[in-house]
Symmetry: C2
Subunit: 471 residues, 2 copies
């Protein structure tokens, strides 16, 4: 079946393709207040699956969920100097409540370090109360002047972790553990999005942190996207809010802290990593609809078989939807599921039925073949695992083929400006080179150690900088 | 073991007992902005279980989750006259964003009917798009002058459902279905909170609704709490936002709508329904910690047995926590779990171990007995089901014993003022009587039909009013 060109091709205009896909796959709409968004059911279903997979990994670290207020007294923000400098330009401010002007304006949380510390300082008394490991699923508001759906929105959904520890080393190890075992594992094994795991330069750190770890992924156009970050906060907020504990030695000590977050931006990353000219391709392990079983025609035998097959696939552990909207042309429905990137489509028509087969269309490889109906429940889970692996391989291959080893500032600028990433010794760039990259709309995405691992020391000899244009 | 009186007794000062329990069981703290709250991990764990149980019931109706923006242009609120009148006094208003005064102030959503309809009017084109069944898990802000944790907070968490249907009858049936199969079922089978299911009088309806269904429960002090509501919105918002569809006959028709919500207030209801002078009693089906296995002493054999038993109880399908904080006195830990209302406590000490037994303390009946360690995994699930049923029976018995049939306005005032509920013919009260009740701080909680069912018509002869003081 020939397909109508439903999307602007990626090669013609990548940003337009992205916007087209999000609209036509019914992932999200722009909200009425500038930069806000409406996440539609299909898009929200992706977020629910991300939440479920992240939540289990977060809880496995011992962290517990809690909820802190949306509204933060404006004065809290100012207590940590770097923090307020970083966030002041993005704040939304509530000045009136209950029909009256407030005595002190409240900001809508842009992040919760300040209000969390206000309570940590009450809850933490002794070393027995440590570590204190808290996570929150919430909305935050950061005013955006150049919004783009999912990537930069004035309101977004996220999880933010906040922890307090007795020692620097413990906090450092916990930030690294989240980076590796929660975020890294989730990207690799669920999102199928390849990344480099590195350390931010001081210039790119979170406002108030002493160290920021990041996962950076290459999007379909070669640009970088910061996927998630995990911060060591040192004792900055502990000092600002006097969060102290009684040590085993009987002394009062400030706690050492971490914070870490992942957002609905990951839905944008999913689109820009796995999308193609026909739409999204959702990795099977993530998909809230893994298989759609389509009735090609309004025919009793077909409809009965479609429902029976759906039940058998569910019994095989798959997340299945039935599409029996036979008053909508079959071609339009097929295009719709392709746009939405459902991993497998099983099409059942009267002719198939007579032969005991169905047509199986796998979204990731783009294959289409007849399969025996009875064999599907046993075969499909394995196929989906293959397709999950394929998506990760493709994502990895893109980064590897479009990353160039560079020896100089000029080479790095050239490689990164040509739509790829540059790997260049940090000693060649330095902070001065980093500023000059900024003038060319390029950034150091992160630093890697010589062996490719996350550097414990940002200035260690042999550190390599990843330079790219970024979202 | 004699217990220290950790809480103000309920009989001495019910509001103080409530506040004490919430603080000491570590459910929540007051937030810094007036009326806001911090939900602590143990309290949030209850909310997560409520969300999980509700979400599965909501999805079973065919509704899908989505997310609408927090910030709503102020002008949206004014489009539906009753709606703005109801909510204007409670709004929090954002006047500044990104360092500038906004051209149009945005309100922090107090509820989302207006912004939802703005999008429904785009998404709904034809009868094929109906019914449109959406649910959202979110935070909302309604400025509170007399806040009380969980019961009335300036920010609370909730789910809000919004649906659009082709006909009045369909919308009406859907609102009733949510009321019965989602909310009623959840309260009965998970929260173990008894209720009457009725219809609000016009005076007590949601601002913008043509009919509001409610579940009203009796708290430990005899007052009523509105647990959840489900509204028929008629075509009020559809007209205000021009939400129309092309019918099968080719005509343009306004949709018929419902909305329905349940909030973190249910945590307050849980406390005031099942709490006793020793703390909370969490119904086993709700509990995120159903069983805590306590190591009485720091002893290797004890600790090994505690962990092994915990694993066996988990294998039996229970949600289990180990308490091996042996550097905290045992008595203090036991009191803490009692305060938190964990349904079952299994205490393992060296003496028990020698006898192959443990001490089982069941929170709901308050029983304490030795049990054979090996028998526990088989016995405990059944015990917990018994305790779940006990809590519901106690809740029902309270309402039944403290509800008085009354024949006149005066009798109703007397019964409801004495700390119970009055059942009085609606024809005896009428709207004028309802106003006079208000002067005595009493309200008509809802109307019931003569046979106790939800009245289809608020003015049907035989309708009975439930009159009570309410939270």
């Amino acid at each position: 079946m020939a397909k109508a060109p439903v999307l602007t091709p990626r090669g013609a205009d990548f940003p337009r393709w992205y916007q087209d896909l999000i609209t036509k796959a019914e992932l999200a709409d722009n909200g009425p207040v500038r930069g806000t968004m409406v996440i539609r059911p299909y898009g929200y279903g992706l977020w629910e699956r991300m939440q479920a997979e992240m939540d289990v990994r977060i809880k496995a670290t011992g962290a517990q969920n809690a909820y802190f207020p949306l509204l933060i007294p404006q004065s809290y923000l100012t207590r940590e100097a770097d923090h307020v400098e970083g966030f002041a330009p993005e704040l939304a401010v509530v000045t009136h409540g209950g029909g009256k002007e407030l005595e002190e304006p409240a900001v809508v949380r842009p992040t919760s370090e300040t209000i969390v510390n206000e309570y940590f300082s009450k809850w933490v008394q002794s070393y027995r109360d440590l570590p204190l490991l808290i996570n929150q699923w919430a909305n935050v508001v950061r005013w955006e002047l150049r919004p783009r759906l999912f990537l930069r929105t004035s309101e977004f959904l996220w999880q933010e972790g906040h922890t307090a520890h007795a020692t620097y080393e413990e906090a450092r190890e916990f930030a690294a553990r989240i980076h590796r075992d929660v975020y890294g594992d989730f990207l690799t094994n669920v999102l199928a999005v390849d990344f480099v795991a590195g350390r931010k330069t001081p210039r790119e750190r979170f406002a108030g942190a002493i160290n920021t770890l990041t996962l950076e992924s290459m999007m379909g156009d070669g640009k970088a996207l910061q996927m998630v970050t995990s911060h060591e906060l040192g004792q900055n907020f502990a000092r600002a809010f006097d969060t102290r504990y009684l040590s085993k030695d009987g002394t009062q000590e400030h706690v050492w802290q971490t914070s870490w977050g992942s957002t609905t931006r990951m839905i944008g990353a999913l689109v820009m990593t796995h999308g193609d000219d026909d739409g999204l391709r959702v990795p099977p392990r993530l998909a809230h609809v893994q298989v759609v079983v389509l009735a090609v025609k309004d025919d009793d035998a077909v409809l009965a078989k479609v429902r029976e097959l759906a039940e058998r696939l569910r019994a095989a552990g798959l997340r299945v939807r039935v599409d029996d909207r036979t008053d909508t042309p079959f071609g339009r429905r097929a295009v719709d599921w392709e746009l939405k990137g459902v991993p497998a489509r099983v099409e059942v028509g009267p002719r198939d039925l007579a032969q005991g087969t169905a047509t199986l269309v796998r979204r990731a490889p783009g294959s289409k073949e007849p399969v025996a109906l009875d064999a599907l429940p046993a075969l499909l889970p394995g196929y989906l695992e293959d397709d999950q692996a394929l998506l990760l391989r493709q994502s990895r291959a893109r980064r590897e083929s479009r990353t160039v080893d560079c020896a100089s500032f000029e080479e790095a600028v050239e490689a990164a400006s040509a739509g790829g990433w540059a790997r260049v010794p940090w000693s060649v760039l330095g902070e001065e080179g980093e500023v000059r990259l900024g003038e060319r709309a390029l950034t150091v995405r992160c630093l890697l150690a010589e062996d490719g691992s996350v550097p414990g020391d940002g200035d260690a000899p042999g550190n390599v900088a990843i330079v790219a244009r970024a979202y």
